[in-house]
Symmetry: C2
Subunit: 326 residues, 2 copies
Amino acid sequence: MNRTYSLRNQRAPTAAQIQSPPPPSASTKSKFFGKSSIASTFRKSTAGSFGPELSRKLSQMIKMEKGVLKAMELVAYERRAAARQLSVWGYDNDDDVSDVTDKLGVLLFELGELQDQFIDKYDQYRVTLKSIRDIEASVQPSRDRKEKITDQIANLKYRDPQSGKIPVLEQELVRAEAESLVAEAQLSNITREKLKASFNYQFDALRELAEKFALIAGYGKALLELLDDSPVTPGESRPAYDGYEASKQIIMDAETALEAWTLDVAVVKPTLSFYQTADDVYGEIVDDESHEHDIEEEGQEWVSETEEQEVHEDHEEHEEHEVASK
Amino acid sequence: MNRTYSLRNQRAPTAAQIQSPPPPSASTKSKFFGKSSIASTFRKSTAGSFGPELSRKLSQMIKMEKGVLKAMELVAYERRAAARQLSVWGYDNDDDVSDVTDKLGVLLFELGELQDQFIDKYDQYRVTLKSIRDIEASVQPSRDRKEKITDQIANLKYRDPQSGKIPVLEQELVRAEAESLVAEAQLSNITREKLKASFNYQFDALRELAEKFALIAGYGKALLELLDDSPVTPGESRPAYDGYEASKQIIMDAETALEAWTLDVAVVKPTLSFYQTADDVYGEIVDDESHEHDIEEEGQEWVSETEEQEVHEDHEEHEEHEVASK
């Protein structure tokens, strides 16, 4: 396995980090690397100790994903609690602070709600992985049986080469091999089908969550504009707050935008530097006659013809780049 | 406080839910509403029991945000662990599954890393809220002193109206009132300044996290396209996997996109139905002569002139709508 891109020791600062340098490490972080709940540590250490060997690693991963789920539930819960408290705190303040914090609370509460919906979807991803684990577990006996018969034949041939049992066992081996072939094909097919389905589902859910979070952040910033933050001198009173309608409108707009969002209107799209463009990934397939031509022109000889990647005409690819870099 | 938009009992399904109906509730969720760690329950119950009364509610909220932080740290940790395990599981599989799961692991690991960076920023938001709490705590004594002197004067006037102490106390009250005026002005100014700064910071960090998550989801979907999921019959072998370069390229593209991302290139933008457009929120201010005209035309008389909201020309507003609905 090429792990060049999985263990990056020295990372150059990103453009966003240059634009606004990263803050110091959060004071809540423990000094030691990461931290985990006792429950999840226990789950991890016990998962994979039981059951057929073939399915142990995936079993362990499924347990770890349960840990992710549990932790996300906690975030959603704590987020909602903090959102409520923000509104409670703001209530005692001046009108503008009171109204803005209440509406901010609504948006932050919505973050928790959205995360809750994401959790349900993440669980579906996890459940789909379980069907791979199950087929792995069911393939193990047929592998074991084949191996056992092979051993028995070898054993007999050494101890009693004339034994009448050998032909019987050899016939049995042929049957076991046939069964095993079917089982391995099932394993191969189901693993790929479910792996693809589960991660496609997770990534779609993640895109939905992410774009909705980004939307909420935008509306939150709009709400903050309603705060009257021009400094007052001692004794001076602020002009009366008149942003009630505006703040309500922002929340209604946010609600409308969140309700109308679908995967089709997703705006964050990856730019791919080779000619599998984002449209391939999202299903829009354009037949292109100049396939051969493009390959030669772009000099990317490493992408084989057998891959099902469609080529877009140059201008379409540029359009894609423009959208993504907006 | 208008809580019409904070306690929504009956919610209509959103467009995304109609497109793909929500899955059943995650099996990991407890039946009771939410759940919280013992530590955070303890933090919440103790916070706000001590310290000046004025700052108790905000103290409690700051403790709750600590709970959010701790839970997010756990998610980031669990996510990285699951990503590693995905790669470990895939290693024993065929070449295509092995390569794709390893690269998926890299992307999922990156989700954890990004969340870690977000946590540091979220902590800065929390630290900024602390300065509001501190000014609240420091204003309390001056309020108490004013109240105490007022009580003393009233008391003396009742018991001994001719007391020579009364003029002294009245002078002291004038001084205390002056001090209090300054303190209240400081409270008013700092609360607004810090509230705006802290939430702007949080929302910018959230937008960064969200858009980067959406990017990663897109690249993840591109990786899945490399899986050969055409079913094989028993005994049939799959064509040799040749996606190593493509998968590596996807990871490099993802890395490039994540590194190049800044707030300026953010694509998810809110659409606001009144004439404070997204550009106002993001700082781009366009002077517009037809201010009065637009107000009349759109018939939104409720937005006062005193609000610092710039009006965009119609065509610009439409452009904004188009971008956001792409």
